[in-house]
């Protein structure tokens, strides 16, 4: 830029115009700067979506990747359901909590065969409360069943 050849006043005038233009642009609502674009959504559906695409009032998706955290995870899910029902007066039949498990937490959704075959308890340091040994069965099935009975949907 050849500013050294321009008179100082011309440079200041140019900068002033640019500043005014920038201020005006910043104050213009986004919708006025470009056309509104609608979000494009996919028509693809997973089978589980039938369980959530119903007449519901309260909804959430919960996740935690740490299998060592499973007990807290279930307590948090139960607390959410209880709070929404008891304190916020939602109809329990119209609530859906999706548990979107990932990482080691996926193990909670596999049956005893997987736990036994792959020594999941030893691998993931999960102790069976009955044997006090590394779990060779899924020790979380009863907790999950209780949550499923309260309209929780488990993904893996």
């Amino acid at each position: 830029m050849e500013t050294d050849r321009l008179p100082r006043r011309a440079v200041l005038r140019t900068l002033g115009v640019a500043a005014v233009a920038a201020t005006a642009a910043a104050c213009t609502p986004p919708a006025a700067r470009s056309e509104d674009k609608k979000l494009v959504t996919s028509d693809f559906k997973w089978p589980y979506e039938k369980a959530i695409e119903t007449d519901i009032d309260a909804r959430a998706v919960m996740a935690s990747p740490h299998l060592s955290n499973a007990s807290i995870y279930f307590v948090q899910a139960a607390n959410w359901l209880t709070s929404m029902e008891r304190d916020y007066k939602y109809d329990p039949a119209k609530m859906r909590l999706v548990m979107a498990n990932y990482g080691p937490m996926n193990f909670i959704t596999y049956n005893d065969s997987i736990w036994s075959t792959y020594k999941a308890g030893e691998w993931q340091q999960v102790t069976d409360p009955q044997t006090k040994q590394p779990a060779t069965r899924n020790p979380f099935v009863a907790d999950i069943k209780k949550l499923q009975d309260r309209q929780c949907v488990f993904l893996t």
């Binding site: 979107a100 959704t109 099935v141």
Partner: protein, 53 residues
């Protein structure tokens, strides 16, 4: 592909084995992090449970 703790099995065989051994009522989708985003688009707030010490 390295199938880790399932040596000798193909990736497809491992996925099939996992799908065949779900607890009742669980759904296998295999893309849960993506699904969290889709659910957020459907109005589901994301509740992350951090690791407790």
């Amino acid at each position: 592909m390295d199938t880790g703790r399932a040596p000798g099995k193909t990736f497809e065989q491992v996925i099939k084995e996992l799908e065949d051994n779900l607890i009742p009522g669980a759904y296998a989708i295999g893309a849960q992090v993506v699904e969290i985003g889709r659910l957020q688009q459907k109005g589901f707030p994301y509740l992350f449970v951090p690791k407790q010490f």
